[in-house]
């Protein structure tokens, strides 16, 4: 039992979502405006102001969450928007109180919900290191000891005595992260701090997180970066609508999450309302085919694949001057490449009611990971349908180079065919 780092018992958090005013007439409104200050003042003095009134609409951002984290575990939390991830972190960081249940944290804890919290633009880099360090819970002596290391890590030595408002956003971030990276708590609670900055910076952050994890600290972090979750975490939690759905190995939790989002994103293409365009053509289904033409969940690097698109044409007439594009983005939302019919072929696309449209990609040059794609269709230069994140493409390791050697996971999103020679 002595090895528990975090224990959470039936935590729930109720939020009020906006107060609805129910004034009917001007007279009521005025009367209420006059009496309200007195009623409010009474409430206020009793300190009851903050308690949610019965009439207000409320929402459970978290409900009945229970779990335990052992010392030394690295826990990743995943879930869609509004699943309650941030609320959970805020409760564990003691920023907000739970409405029900309790949590226990055994050991010295530091939370990092944002990098550069409390940075003041009018202070210099040096001054901000001290201020930010103190805010994150470091002792002055500790900051002084690590100061040189922090500065070196941030790579802004030359500007350390410049006020931070003159920093580029990249420098600002590097300095902020450098301070955060030198926290040495027993338990570290981290929010999506990695979702900022350029790719090189993100890699550096991930590396640092990996080091922290290897040192045997307990880390609890939220991320949308599945690659980070699967490579860093020993266990993952899946939150959905404020409830804890699964707690298992990162791999299986990620699969569960993706299959759920696929369910969310798979059925819907025909039902999705968040689309743009005139509607002469509507995509109803998008699926990924492997080199044997089978619909699959996951493809392999280097395989010949196809994206198969089903569509409907409300007028039931053949369209012969369409342009279609499928645009791929990486797990962090970065744009990768687009397959645009107008550039890959001189001819327009013919859309026949009832047929399917295939986009064939030979020798898929994507590294293992999870990708999403958006599709659009223009007819006679007019946008008729656009669905962003219409589907997902899960790529696993494959023999892209035909050498029997699987390329390493971490070097970028693309694999590029090449040869070596000496002359």
């Amino acid at each position: 039992m002595g090895d528990i780092a975090i224990r959470v018992e039936e935590i729930g958090k109720l939020y009020r979502i906006g107060k609805r005013e129910k004034y009917k007439t001007l007279r009521d409104t005025l009367a209420s405006a006059f009496t309200a200050p007195f009623r409010n003042a009474g409430k206020l003095l009793r300190g009851e102001w903050a308690d949610p009134g019965e009439s207000d609409p409320t929402i459970w951002a978290l409900k009945d969450i229970s779990f335990e984290v052992q010392r030394g575990e690295v826990i990743g939390v995943i879930g869609g928007n509004g699943a309650g991830k941030s609320t959970l972190l805020k409760i564990l960081s003691r920023i907000t109180e739970p409405t029900t249940g309790f949590a226990e944290i055994h050991g010295q804890v530091a939370s990092l919900l944002e990098v550069g919290t409390g940075f003041h633009p009018e202070l210099t880099g040096r001054e901000n290191i001290f201020l930010n360090g103190a805010i994150l819970g470091m002792k002055r002596a500790e900051i002084e000891r690590k100061f040189d290391e922090i500065v070196a890590f941030s790579e802004v030595e030359r500007f350390i005595d410049t006020t931070v408002k003159h920093y580029s956003s990249g420098m600002y971030l590097r300095l902020a992260f450098a301070v955060a990276a030198h926290l040495e708590p027993e338990i570290l609670i981290v929010d999506e701090v990695l979702a900022v900055g350029d790719a090189a910076f993100q890699r550096k952050c991930l590396g640092k997180m990996g080091d922290v994890a290897k040192e045997g600290r307990t880390v609890f972090f939220v991320s949308h970066n599945m690659a980070a979750i699967s490579s860093l975490c020993t266990r993952a939690l899946l939150l959905d609508s404020g409830r804890l759905k699964v707690s298992d190995t990162p791999q299986s939790v990620i699969e569960e999450y993706l299959s759920k989002t696929r369910k969310d994103a798979g059925v819907p293409l025909s039902e999705r309302k968040d689309r743009k365009g005139g509607g002469k053509v509507r995509f109803t289904n998008a699926s990924v085919l492997n080199n044997r033409g089978e619909v699959v969940e996951s493809v392999v690097s280097g395989q010949d694949i196809s994206i198969s698109l089903a569509y409907e044409i409300p007028s039931s007439e053949k369209i012969d001057n369409a342009i279609v594009q499928i645009k791929f983005a990486g797990g962090l939302g970065q744009q990768l490449f687009a397959c645009l019919s107008r550039t890959s072929s001189r001819e327009s696309i013919e859309l026949v009611p009832g047929a399917r449209l295939y986009c064939n990609i030979p020798r898929l040059p994507l590294a293992p990971g999870l990708y999403t794609y958006s599709i659009w269709c223009k007819v006679a230069g007019r946008l008729e349908d656009l669905v962003s994140e219409a589907g997902m493409l899960s790529v696993s390791e494959g023999d892209y180079f035909g050498t029997g050697i699987f390329p390493a996971r971490t070097v970028g999103d693309f694999l590029v065919a090449h040869t070596w020679s000496t002359r």
């Binding site: 002595g2 939020y15 206020l44 300190g47 102001w49 903050a50 805020k90 409760i91 564990l92 960081s93 003691r94 920023i95 907000t96 109180e97 739970p98 409405t99 029900t100 249940g101 309790f102 949590a103 226990e104 944290i105 055994h106 050991g107 010295q108 804890v109 939370s111 919900l113 944002e114 919290t117 409390g118 003041h120 009018e122 202070l123 001054e127 001290f130 201020l131 103190a134 805010i135 994150l136 819970g137 002792k139 002055r140």
Partner: protein, 276 residues
Amino acid sequence: MEESVQVIRIEPSKGWVALQLKELWAYRELLYFLIWRDVKVRYKQTALGAAWAIIQPVFTMIVFSLFFGRLAKIPSDGIPYPIFAYAALVPWTFFSQGLGQAANSLVGSSNLLKKVYFPRLSVPIASVLSGLIDFLIAFIVLLGMMLYYGIHPTLNVIWLPFLLLLTVITSLGVSLWLSALNVHFRDVRHVLPFLTQFWLFATPIAYPSSLLSESWRTLYSINPMVGVVEGFRWALLGVETAPGPMLIVSSLVALALLVGGVFYFRRLEKTFADVL
């Protein structure tokens, strides 16, 4: 190993909560850094810099001396009117500036409150205490004026630290109420200028409290700034009326304000992150 591990328990709090002053003490370095930040930033990008700490009380003194001293011929307990007013304006400026800074302090650091845990009390406390530097600067000017007017402080000057403490307590007490209220009701921001102006005239700064009879004076000092101001004059300028009873009443009220303020603040504290 259990005893070496600190356990933090996170659960919903009900009603009035413990003050956890111990924790506030444990975070004293943060408090220091917050004060240090406020002091550093206060006069950044101003042309006159720290001179502002002097300009405000000095100009108010000049205006008061002209209108109240010269024109209205308000008595000043036998002391030259300018220094009579200035000795009161020094603690008053500390008080009113403290209120102004602290009342908006929580709203101003909402990004901190929403992202990091630390004892929330440190925010308004830092705002109030950072004014001590300005106080010190303005106080040096006061000493200069005493030299100029040839006024020698009496032995009562040993009470000065206590009087300063009383000023801090009063300022902090009111600030805690206002800052916590301001989170829920931004009305505070609009009330504040009015409140400080009203308070300025309810305090014997432009006039001596000796205009009132002894018994009224004691009642008057329910306004803790009355005790502060009269105390300063008595300790530094050697005004004859010893403000004993006034100081006692003022101190009690100031303490009550502070204690009530701390409890009230702690009670509302849990809602800050959700409301800001």
